[in-house]
Symmetry: D2
């Protein structure tokens, strides 16, 4: 079996998920080094998975002679720089989303990648969720016919701290960006226009920080289809992630995942369990599938299923969404880029 | 048991449904006369339900001395006139939707009703569907908390003939009008703004007739909630009618109704039946509940659950929707009325 | 349209259901006379459905010159006698189940029917339930392949008064008899052996009356299939009626029917409504279908889908079930008849 | 964190599952040695999980000075002997089911365990399935009330080779034994009597080998409840594993698990995916939970949730089931032990 040697930059929550997947579920992968400015955290994670090379400086990972690919799990504002440096060092790259909050910065990073001729995959893990994979397959197989209406419901169990909005770029950039990518992926066509009706209904502090917490977003696609995303930062019943695609030949929908599937019939009604409440539970398989696909594609020199351009496009849609909120009008993507 | 004597104007498809309900399921109701310009059709319907007084002229029903309430099931362009005449004759009125396509005409009819002091109920039958009644009850009981997002999916099995668009006022006026009413009913707040993204994806002839067949409609409510309706004139799998309401304390959704609930597990997958395909099957109970409520309210001098103003408001929203399509921008209802 | 004139004997709960169906939903039917020893009750029912001929003596219905078919809804111990008299009078017969509690009495009635050359249908309404019709269709269409295992769950919301057991013949004769018929119908083969494990778990008074309230019943079919019925007199969550058929090519199951299909997601779980709680709600369509089929078959001289022999067979199985309880051993039907 | 060092005997299919779980999902566990007569297979498995000590002789694992507990995954006919030897060596024991096919042999092993004062857990993994855990919790919490009827559906996707029956002890001993354990676990009471109606409907070769492939099994419990298990060796739609428990206060049922939860609405019906088809997919979580519980219990000297007596009891029920088939009568467990 051909193997690939990887270095992971950032050993926080998502870094740990990727390391666990690579070590436990991807036999072709070998994690040879990790780095985090929090060296104590990095050490604990590395020890837990039998990784002996631990750095505080990300450059040591990029420049590690054995490392063939880097997995970038550091904060968003470091992504573009690390991509550029890794590309220059000739390393393949997996980078968490978003690539950056700025179009020109992303473009700079993508140019570096292209110039270096390395592979870059952006971490839109939901494309690898078994539910959404199944829907996509039905689209690809022509079972939906021409797509007419795409619907995505995406609600978080609880909002992040209000101060997080400034760092993250706001709801569209840190949360809806997944839905923007899913929309493009599922319909198989580019978004050309966005209209957003949003509100602050969950927590006034979010509004004071200049962000919104509730939105209904209309997307127009180049192929004529229409999309709608509804977002909330707080669903009291947990994490709510559903997709529906409707077309000329049929409709397919994917419900949430549940921890088990009992039903309890009592005198007062029928009761069952809430959906899986946490994105790491819901998307556990997706994270594993994603990393397997990345490693296999790099090893076998195959095209990656999520490109740098995919990373750019969803940021552009998010920026158009912001503008639509500010001006309460539909915004064409050509106004952004 | 106190009884009410009714006369029915129009014995076409929906008139027949109401007559059947009144005769078979509303013991307090007695249909004493029917009228239709198609006297042969009226006679056949009347005979089938043991009604002996049959007219070709609607005025004979309105002026029939025993008739206490009239049920108007004639074409839309006659509704307002018949309402005015019935009101002047001191008769209570049940009128099918829409009241009219023109705001001023509707206002004229409502003034006549108010002046005469009679009761008027508009036929938004879906309010009486057991699924949606249950959702509304959850809202009223505070189980949803403050409503944040309302979602309505409303798809027809097949489009009407393209030439019908001119007569009916188009998709928003003949089909979505039900959804506009459902939105106001479910959220319990007025719509203040509408944005529509629409397309002609089902049949080019519909577009040539100046109408659309696919739409995603964003509604803004006075209480801060956001609504979204997605419509299609053609779902190959049948009649698709679902509502979801999401709020600060929970979410409730209503699925379609199915003719039965078998599941068949074969080697190639699990298979089950399509939803009820025809509005009369899906809303059979709703039509019956609606007419019972009307009769009981008139007999006992209670407030009617669907007012003339409800009939007006949904037409105003439909007009705003049309304007939004023409100008591709959000339209405030205050621009219409 | 060819019509049939019917007389109904017995205007209690089930008689009223059949009269309503015949009057409202079977255009080919005309109920010309009803009879009940409770003449006041009969009068009220008859008036409610516009039937003018009301008798206290059932023989007046049988001998009514216009009556072509009689519908027997009187107590079980009168069924056989009325069948015999109706047959002698040359009238077709619909009789509620069970025909009688005694094999020889039933055989006597069936002989009279055969001799007279009239048609007899026994009221196993569940065969006409849309769920079970769908399952049967799958069996007939070969979608199940060879049937291997049939499973019926049949639970009542609440037990009848304990003293009812003596009159009714006990749980197997008044409740499980429906399941015995369903088993034969669904598998399409005769039961050859019965084994019952039963208990008194709901109400000791039922045990004191010599009956049981809980049972698991194993059936052996002539074609090699095995069946199992589980019964309870009391499901606190309502009326529970499910069937599953498993075979060499697949499995089909039918769930309960529900009043609506909402789901409510709250912080503490997902909640939905209980199944339809009352047999008349659950089997409303079944009763209507049943009576339509009877009338059409008589009018057009077609074979009836539930024969007198079907009525006999289920009683034989019930008697074998009783014997199995008494002797705690499998009992062959050949021991009974 | 307190850790436990384990040795695994047998590195076939189930041994590999347990090793993977112990290495990847049980941080308290350390697998220090494995053994298999197939030393090549053992070596491949050990290498894959970074285990360096590999033996062909099971005694080397038992006697390994660091091994505190042994996990027995070898063929059934070795279980009892290995248990006895491990117990004598003072090692705790996890043993796959069944312990043995003979009551006296099992009793001998249990005596050795008791005498040595070590812990023994038998591998009834389904007790640790999230669905069944949830049902059991509802029973324990009193939500079901007094159990009245337990139902287990347990069907395999395909039969084992007919010659396997002789080795395995037949369907009751290798397949239904899981259901016998589930029945005792869920009801929380001992089985006192068994009646089986079985057949050979899947493959005549199974019958020729003296076994059956289809069965409906009635269980009587000491607390008065009644149970029913339906088994088939071949469900063309995959692995079918459902449990339902009905009692005085309510009913709970657990459906199968599915790979994802899409629904596809096409013109010809609604379609969805088959249940997880393979026991390792369906019970993946159960295997992991089981091994965690075992390790934690041994480390913290807690009672084990599945005892040696549980292993004995299910074998006794299986033997009674065989006798019931031979004699076509209910068999009391007191006839066996």
């Amino acid at each position: 079996m051909k193997k690939i040697k990887l270095g992971v930059i950032g050993t926080g929550r998502i870094g740990k998920v990727h390391i666990a997947t690579l070590v436990q579920s991807v036999p072709q992968a070998e994690v040879v080094a990790v780095a985090d400015v929090n060296i104590a955290g990095a050490t604990e994670v590395a020890n837990g998975f039998g990784i002996s090379t631990i750095y505080s400086n990300y450059q040591d990972v990029i420049n590690h002679p054995e490392v063939e690919a880097v997995v970038i799990c550091s904060p968003t504002d470091t992504h573009a720089q690390y991509i550029i440096e890794a590309a220059k060092a000739g390393k393949h790259i997996f980078c968490e989303k978003p690539v950056d909050l700025s179009v020109s910065v992303i473009q700079g990073a993508l140019e570096a990648v292209e110039k270096a001729g390395v592979k870059l995959m952006v971490g839109f893990n939901r494309r690898f969720d078994p539910n959404f994979l199944k829907l996509k397959q039905l689209v690809v197989d022509g079972k939906i016919g021409d797509p007419h209406v795409l619907k995505i419901t995406s609600r978080d169990p609880a909002p992040p701290p209000a101060e997080y909005s400034a760092v993250s770029g706001g709801m569209f950039m840190d949360m809806t960006i997944h839905d923007f990518d899913m929309a493009r992926y599922m319909v198989g066509s580019e978004v050309t226009e966005v209209y957003v009706k949003s509100a602050v209904l969950v927590d006034p502090a979010i509004g004071e920080a200049g962000d919104v917490d509730t939105a209904v977003i209309t997307l127009t696609f180049a192929n004529g289809a229409i999309g709608v995303i509804d977002n909330s930062r707080k669903a009291v019943y947990g994490y709510d992630q559903r997709v529906e695609i409707f077309g000329s030949k049929g409709m397919a929908c994917a419900d949430n995942n549940f921890p088990e599937n009992h039903r309890y019939f009592a005198g007062d009604g029928v009761h069952s369990s809430l959906p899986l409440n946490f994105f790491m539970d819901r998307y556990l398989d997706a994270y594993a599938n994603e990393m397997k696909v990345f490693c296999q594609a790099v090893i076998n020199d195959l095209a990656l299923p999520v490109s740098g351009d995919d990373g750019l496009k969803s940021v552009v849609i998010a920026l158009a969404a912001k503008k639509s909120v500010q001006e309460n009008r539909p915004v064409k993507l050509s106004e952004i880029i």
